[in-house]
């Protein structure tokens, strides 16, 4: 579904990704793991074209996306949930979700506001509250709900467990499991191995912008040296 081939991405002068390649199959849930600063967020942004890779190619369902404006990528069915949440704090929950709304897509069940409120009951209670009144966990749920309103066929989740309380992290895991049941492809960047293990089928480890591991969690467990080297403190 997503095919990343040899991309180099820069942030200003700093090269963040070098010659990174991987592929994601339809219906897969893949976790991109790595330490802070390893390049996880840049990888997500490079798929979404919020960062334009200088070299290499990214295809989505066979279509080249490098060079497209992000809104076109979003319209193709890629849903992006940013790490910093970036909800519109002056807008209410309902309005935030409205921004993300896109027409239904063939082959994917349509997400409505009611369905999403079922998934995130906390949001339902506060639907007319402004974004700035929400807690960190609620904001994180709202970013996911907002993106789901676009009926994506593939969801890019950038560090969904970052900076939120463990209880909420568990809820989040459950939610992702539910989304997964809807045949969605999910790419999830994480530092939290436990969380990743809970929801993902496969792990890709990056460090210094390069891929260091690509395989199932069972394979990862068989290589403690890799974990030690790229994931531990």
């Amino acid at each position: 579904m997503i095919e990343v081939k040899g991309i180099d991405s820069f942030y200003g002068k700093a090269q963040i990704l070098s010659d990174l390649s991987f592929s994601i199959g339809a219906g897969e849930v893949v976790s991109i793991l790595g330490r802070n600063g390893a390049g996880k967020t840049t990888t997500m942004k490079s798929i979404m074209q919020l960062v334009r890779p200088r070299n290499g190619s990214v295809t989505f369902n066979g279509t080249e996306v490098v060079g497209l404006p992000p809104y076109k990528v979003a319209k193709m069915g890629l849903g992006y949930v940013p790490e910093e949440r970036r909800i519109f704090t002056d807008l209410t929950i309902l309005e935030n979700m409205e921004v993300g709304r896109q027409p239904a897509r063939k082959g994917v069940p349509e997400w409505t506001i009611d369905l999403l409120f079922e998934l995130f009951p906390n949001l339902s209670e506060r639907r007319n509250n402004r974004g700035k009144a929400l807690s960190g966990g609620e904001q994180q749920m709202l970013t996911i709900a907002r993106t789901m309103m676009g009926n994506p066929t593939c969801l890019l989740l950038d560090e969904p467990s970052e900076g939120i309380a463990p209880v909420i992290v568990e809820q989040m895991a459950e939610t992702i499991m539910q989304i997964k049941k809807q045949q969605l492809t999910v790419v999830l960047s994480e530092q939290n191995l436990h969380f990743a293990r809970l929801v993902a089928d496969r792990a890709i480890i990056i460090e210094s912008g390069q891929k260091r591991f690509d395989g199932t969690f069972a394979e990862l467990d068989a290589q403690p040296d890799i974990q030690e080297k790229y994931l531990s403190v």
Partner: protein
Amino acid sequence: MNHILEVRNLSKSFHGLRAVHEVNFDVSEGELLALIGPNGAGKSTCFNMLMGQLKPTAGEVYFQGENLVGKYPRDIWRKGIGRTFQITATYSSMTVVENVQMALMSFHRRIYSMLPYAHKMYKKEALTFLEMVGLASQAERHCAILAYGDLKRLELAIALCHNPTLLLMDEPTAGMAPTERESVMQLTADIVREKNISVLFTEHDMDVVFGHAHRILVLNRGELIANGSVDDIRNNPVVQEVYLGGGNLFESDKAAS
């Protein structure tokens, strides 16, 4: 050993949220001290308070016995503290050597002078600093076209200009390739040893921290939870526990040790 920097009960709240809470530590002369912790633990807040960018809610910072709280960054710099930035901050419209000359002009209090040509001032001195960080051959290049790693070196040269006794380095190797990380950190370690400068640095790359720090402080949710040698920290169960909750994993480390 003498304590060059003493941090006492340093605290900072943002709108009632405790970002840093009663942090205490010292930096000894000639020491390379690392400050680590998960994202959002308060490292940057701590750093900004030490440099005067943020005013602490409570607590004191003594540098050679003098309280720095309430002073401007520029005044703290004059006391003999240099700093480098997590995201590089250089003068992109100048040449490499002019970047260093600028700091020297400031150090010699000549920035209001309108008569001499600035590009001739303190050039020799500036070149020796560039020599030190290995940038002499690029002295006349336009700063804006420097590679990222070289910008970090340039920042180091600028920070050394006023013969500081303490360097504060915010993620000195962020954004660099692994091989370059090691060489820049080694360079820093060599320079500070030779000049007897103390260093306090934050860092995410644990190879760098374990490879070069003399001592490590661990910050979590704004509180200092550990303070010890590299081995102490590696094997500290509290640190491991905290990181488990905070987003990183430690089991592999347990397995390894």
